[in-house]
């Protein structure tokens, strides 16, 4: 007999006791049926959650998640890392100076499709008032406004009369 095995002979005899530990009688009779019933129930519940599916597709994600759950040190380091990235991003965004002319980028309408739709639906008033060619994709240069939309609209308002809802006397 191997000396290593001989040293642990009594321990192994004692461990054999665990083989005699038995679940309640009849426990395994319906074990598989319970498993199948739970599988059927979960199938009826529909597809798995995104988290579960991610677990199947990328088991390393689950390992990271369980490490975060069980090891406070890992969770702390992860949290500090996220805060560090946020701080670095904030500092970087403050240190970068905006270049001249970039303010108008947000107002430029560059999609030709949008331009067509708008110019067709708004008619000549909008095209004239805004003062840029909507069908062009030129961006910043085309977006420079010539006049206020409201001034133009007010000028055309002269001929408009308020509607009256009173019935004329003697009318049917």
């Amino acid at each position: 007999m191997n000396p290593e095995q001989e040293n642990f002979h009594d321990l192994r005899r004692l461990l054999a006791l665990k083989r005699h530990e038995q679940p309640p009688p009849g426990y395994f009779n319906d074990f598989s049926q319970q498993v199948i019933a739970r599988i059927r129930a979960e199938e009826h519940l529909g597809p798995q959650s995104l988290f579960e599916r991610m677990g199947w597709e990328a088991p390393w994600l689950l390992r990271i998640w369980s490490a975060l759950e069980t090891k406070p040190v890992v969770a702390g380091v992860f949290g500090m890392g996220v805060c560090g990235i946020l701080l670095a991003g904030m500092l970087y965004s403050q240190s970068v100076e905006p270049t001249p002319g970039t303010e108008l980028i947000g107002t430029s309408i560059s999609a030709p499709a949008l331009a067509t739709v708008q110019s067709e639906s708004a008619g000549p008033v909008l095209g004239q008032a805004v003062g840029f060619d909507l069908s062009k994709t030129g961006g910043v240069a085309a977006a420079q406004m010539r006049a206020s939309l409201f001034r133009q609209f007010r000028a055309q308002q002269v001929g408009i009369e308020p509607a009256s809802f009173t019935q004329p006397v003697g009318g049917n």
Partner: protein, 214 residues
């Protein structure tokens, strides 16, 4: 009946020459896996029946708690069914589902830390007649008055003091009778690691249970 019959012994008994010729041949494992993968639940039911005792036993010996073992063993089989598409057949289905059960159990034990509660299965009738155990109790140990139930509780408490990987190696080798190679495959480590963990775990257990050993 011994619940956790070692794999090698079981395999040997299945090949006994004296077995009846007319007995129906068990369906190939891979055929069942293929059918189960196509959604055939009766095929999966057959697979569960084949391995339920061993999977339950492993989880039970790891947790020393019947209710937890019941939940985890069921969940392992459910996860096994859901993940069948990713089973490439590189190992046997048995090893694969074993690995799922072991990983689930280890994750569970990490979360359960510090609130371990024993809920032990009863010892079967044969325990009192096991010559090894009878000898162990009747020998002149420092605790001669010990009975089997007390020994069972002490043994499980000692097992719970081991780290999960060490407990797993002792469970798979000394309780369930798996070979070092099988354990290495299940634990996804090399055989040397299995051997060293086994040696260390036995040393630890021997120290915890010194009162009950010669």
């Amino acid at each position: 009946m011994i619940m956790a019959e070692p794999v090698s012994r079981k395999a040997a008994s299945e090949r006994e020459p004296g077995a009846e010729e007319s007995a129906p041949q068990p369906v190939e494992e891979m055929v069942l896996v293929k059918r189960a993968r196509q959604g055939d639940l009766s095929a999966y039911d057959e697979l569960v029946r084949r391995y339920q005792e061993r999977i339950y036993a492993t989880v039970y010996h790891m947790t020393s708690n019947h209710e937890d073992a019941n939940d985890l063993a069921q969940e392992a089989f459910i996860k096994g069914f859901q993940a069948l598409k990713s089973f490439k057949g590189g190992s046997s289905f048995y090893t694969w589902v074993y690995r799922i059960a072991v990983n689930k159990t280890i994750n569970f034990l990490k979360q359960r830390k510090n609130k371990a509660q024993l809920s032990l299965d009863d010892l079967d009738f044969n325990a009192e007649h096991d010559p090894d155990l009878v000898a162990l109790i009747s020998e002149k140990t420092p605790r001669r008055e010990v009975n089997l139930a007390e020994l069972q509780e002490k043994l499980n408490s000692a097992m719970q003091k081991l780290s999960e990987p060490h407990r797993l190696v002792v469970t798979l080798h000394d309780v369930q009778g798996l070979s070092h190679e099988e354990i290495a495959e299940i634990m996804d480590c090399n055989i040397g690691t299995v051997r060293s963990r086994l040696f260390y775990a036995r040393q630890q257990l021997q120290a915890y249970l010194s009162d009950y050993l010669k």
